[in-house]
Every structure is written in structure tokens, then in C-alpha cells.
């Protein structure tokens, strides 16, 4: 997946909302912006939805760091 900067995307969403709400764009431009915004919000949602819970610990093994699942000791 292409690397999307989440924070930038949120900022873009905000900008698009403001631009659309101003109503100064032509209908065609508005539609383009609308599509862009919906695509972006979908991407953001996908990032959230596709995230997996991972709690790992980096342990040194033979001079290399190895990532292993981390379990809390109760």
C-alpha cells in the first residue's frame, strides 16, 4: 500500500471540506474535489480498519534484534 501520511490526509480532508463549503468552485471542480475527498477518507478508514493489534518486544539474539510477541507478565 502506498505510504499515506495520516495527519496530512486529515489536514487535506479539512481543506477540501472548507473549499467545498465556500461554494465558490464550479460544479465540475466541486465534483472533482468531492471525489478526491471521499477517496481520501476511504483511505484513512482503510488504514484504521486494516491495522492489526501487535504488541512486540525487540530482543537481541546473536547480535541481531528479533521482534517477538510480547506477553505481559501477570
Amino acid at each position: 500500500m502506498e505510504k499515506v501520511n495520516f495527519e496530512e490526509s486529515i489536514q487535506k480532508l479539512e481543506n477540501i471540506a472548507i473549499e467545498l463549503e465556500k461554494g465558490e468552485l464550479s460544479l465540475e471542480e466541486s465534483l472533482t474535489k468531492f471525489e478526491e475527498g471521499m477517496k481520501l477518507s476511504k483511505q484513512c478508514n482503510e488504514i484504521i480498519e486494516n491495522a492489526e493489534k501487535k504488541i512486540t518486544v525487540l530482543l537481541e539474539k546473536d547480535g541481531k534484534l528479533e521482534e517477538q510477541n510480547f506477553e505481559l507478565e501477570e
Binding site: G23, T56, F70
Partner: protein, 368 residues
């Protein structure tokens, strides 16, 4: 009474008593701590150690010297640590290690959160609990480090470098639970402050309790009062983020609907306008104007033609009056010799063949 000084000539006698001399730059005094009190010591006294003693002064009659009979003894490093803390803080501050302009922004939604702390205890548990509560699908990478004692500072600094080298996370949390000033000391060491300052990844520090301010806290990009707070600062409340995104979608849709309605209104207004209700009117108006112009043109042209005609008649009659033909009808003739019109007798001699033109034709003749 309390006495502060440095231990020298320390002897732990086989009887269990401790004998030593307490000294500072200007003076010294012998001390003894009897076996009964030594069991309360939290450390092993050594030469060169700075200590604070609670005890009484009395004369040891056999030697005729005053000495301190110590009842309790504590390491007196604390005062020094404070001084060292202030000194280092001032030094690093002057160097710009705490500059706000150098501080990096904590990413709004880091994909991976690197945590440097002990792999046991409440700190990592709190961080994991708070993080997963805010975002159930959080990615936390723990890089275990000792958080107190000898060598901890070096290991913490190294861990920061490792995280940076391989960009193992988007943000680093350096955390430790509460403790005494000595316990927190690794986080007051220069090597840690510099590692934090040099880190390209943003660093959140959460060391000790809310009231503890370590050098690491000043050097970090963001100080969290507690490890739990650090997790809150690093992990966004995911349902809030989702709500925010859907609020944007709502705003887009709304704005577009408004735009379309606005366009519709404009369209209706246009269609309702005179131009669309009676589109031929404008054309007809133009036709009328054209007709008028044509009429005017026709009038001007016919006038002009009339004028020219009268002018021509006048000129023709003038021409007619001046015409040589007219003269010929009155009985004159035109004499030509070799194509030239002869105007004087001098131009002719005897025998010249000439041409005489009358009103109704010409004849050849010869001068005699």
C-alpha cells in the same frame, strides 16, 4: 547532631564495629559505629564516600580524643546530585538542547510506537493498557532497557540510537515509574539527553511522577507526566478519529448537495428569464433594425441616383453646346492635313492634299 563529611581510614572490625575518620577540606574527626547500629545501614561504607552521620560527640578517654559515636549514617550524594542536575541542566540549556524550535511534532497517528522501558512492571503494562483501550489495533514495539542503576543511561541512549538507525517506530516513548532522585538518575545523564536531542524520531518522555522533572524531560519533544499519559499522547482515541473522518464525508456530501441545489436554482432562474421565455423576441428586434437600415439605405441611394442624373443632364447640355459638331451644323468645316488640324493658312502650301470634315461626312481636296 548531624555531621557531614567524607569517610577515610575505614575499618570494619571483626567485632562488627566500624571505625573511620570523617573529614572535609579543613578538619577531621574520628568516628565509631557500633555493631548494634550497623545493621540499619542501607549501604556499605567505603573510603571516599560522602556521608551524613547522626550521632553524639564524646571523649574517648583512653586516647584523649573527641570522637563521634554514630547511630545512623546515610549516603550524602543527594546534595551533590542536585548540584550536578542543575549544572548539567544549565549547560545543556545553554547549548540549546531544550530549544522549543528543535522539538519535533508527535505524529497524530503513529503506525508503530516504540517503547523504551523495563519489560516488567507497571509501566509497560500501563502503556499497553491505555494504548489498546484508545486504539484496539495499536502496534507497540517494546525495546527493553534497564531504567536504573549503573550503565542504564548508556543502554537507554543506545536503545534510542537503535530505534533511529532502523526507524523501528514513528514515535518513541521513554518511560519509567516513580522513584528516588537516584533511581531516576539515568534520565538525568547527559548521554541520554543528547541521544534524545539527536533522535530523528520524536520522543515522548514519561519519567517518574508528575512532579519529577528530569533532564530527559527537558530534552524530549514532549513530556508526559506519567507513562499512562504518554500513551494517551501517542495514541489517538481511534473512535474519535473515525467520527472525525465520517464528519468530513458528511460535510463533503452536504456541500455538494448545496452546490447542486444552488446550480438548480440558477438554472431555473435562467430558464425563467425573458430570453428563454421568448427567445425570438431579440431576433425580431434585430430584424426590425435591419429593415430600417435597409429602408434608409434605399432612400439614400435613390436620392443619390436622382442627383447624379440631373448633374449629368446639365453636363451633357453644356457639352452639347461646346461640341464642334454643333459648329459644323452651322456650315463650318474642319481642315486636316496629314492627320493634323489646320488652324492657319500658313500651315498649307499649294498642292497639299487635305481632308475636309463637314457635319455629315468628309471629302478630300487639294490646295490650289
Amino acid at each position: 547532631m548531624f555531621v557531614k563529611g567524607e569517610i577515610s581510614n575505614f575499618k570494619h572490625h571483626y567485632t562488627g564495629h566500624m571505625y573511620f575518620t570523617l573529614k572535609d577540606e579543613k578538619s577531621l574527626i574520628k568516628c565509631v559505629m557500633f555493631k548494634g547500629y550497623t545493621s540499619n545501614l542501607t549501604f556499605v561504607p567505603k573510603d571516599g564516600m560522602k556521608v551524613m552521620i547522626l550521632g553524639t560527640v564524646s571523649v574517648f578517654e583512653r586516647d584523649g580524643v573527641y570522637q563521634i559515636y554514630a547511630k545512623a549514617m546515610q549516603e550524602d550524594g543527594i546534595g551533590d546530585l542536585h548540584a550536578e542536575y542543575e549544572k548539567l541542566k544549565a549547560k545543556l540549556e545553554a547549548e540549546g538542547l531544550f530549544d522549543t524550535s528543535h522539538k519535533k511534532k508527535i505524529p497524530f497517528m503513529p503506525k508503530c510506537i516504540g517503547v523504551l522501558t523495563s519489560n516488567t512492571g507497571a509501566v509497560i503494562r500501563d502503556i499497553i493498557n491505555v494504548s489498546t483501550r484508545r486504539n484496539p489495533n495499536v502496534y507497540i514495539k517494546l525495546l527493553p532497557v534497564p531504567v536504573q542503576g549503573q550503565g542504564a543511561a548508556e543502554k537507554i541512549a543506545k536503545a534510542i540510537e537503535i530505534m533511529n538507525e532502523k526507524e523501528l517506530a514513528d514515535v518513541i516513548i521513554i518511560a519509567r515509574g516513580g522513584g528516588s532522585l537516584e533511581d531516576l538518575w539515568p534520565f538525568n545523564e547527559e548521554i541520554v539527553a543528547r541521544a534524545i536531542y539527536n533522535s530523528k524520531l520524536p520522543v515522548i518522555s514519561a519519567v517518574g511522577h508528575e512532579t519529577d522533572f528530569t533532564i530527559a524531560d527537558f530534552a524530549s519533544d514532549l513530556r508526559a507526566p506519567t507513562p499512562s499519559a504518554a500513551a494517551e499522547l501517542a495514541v489517538p482515541q481511534i473512535n474519535e478519529v473515525q467520527e472525525k473522518i465520517s464528519s468530513y464525508e458528511y460535510r463533503f456530501k452536504n456541500a455538494l448537495i448545496k452546490k447542486i441545489e444552488f446550480m438548480k436554482l440558477r438554472y431555473q432562474k435562467c430558464m425563467g428569464s425573458k430570453a428563454f421565455r421568448d427567445p425570438m423576441q431579440k431576433v425580431n428586434e434585430q430584424y426590425m433594425i435591419i429593415d430600417n437600415v435597409i429602408k434608409k439605405l434605399e432612400f439614400i441611394i435613390s436620392n443619390k441616383v436622382k442627383d447624379e442624373k440631373t448633374k449629368m443632364i446639365k453636363i451633357i447640355s453644356k457639352l452639347d453646346a461646346l461640341s464642334p459638331l454643333k459648329t459644323l451644323t452651322r456650315g463650318y468645316a474642319i481642315t486636316e492635313y496629314e492627320g493634323r488640324i489646320i488652324k492657319s493658312v500658313e500651315e498649307l502650301k499649294e498642292g497639299d492634299k487635305i481632308k475636309l470634315t463637314f457635319k455629315d461626312g468628309s471629302k478630300k481636296a487639294q490646295v490650289i
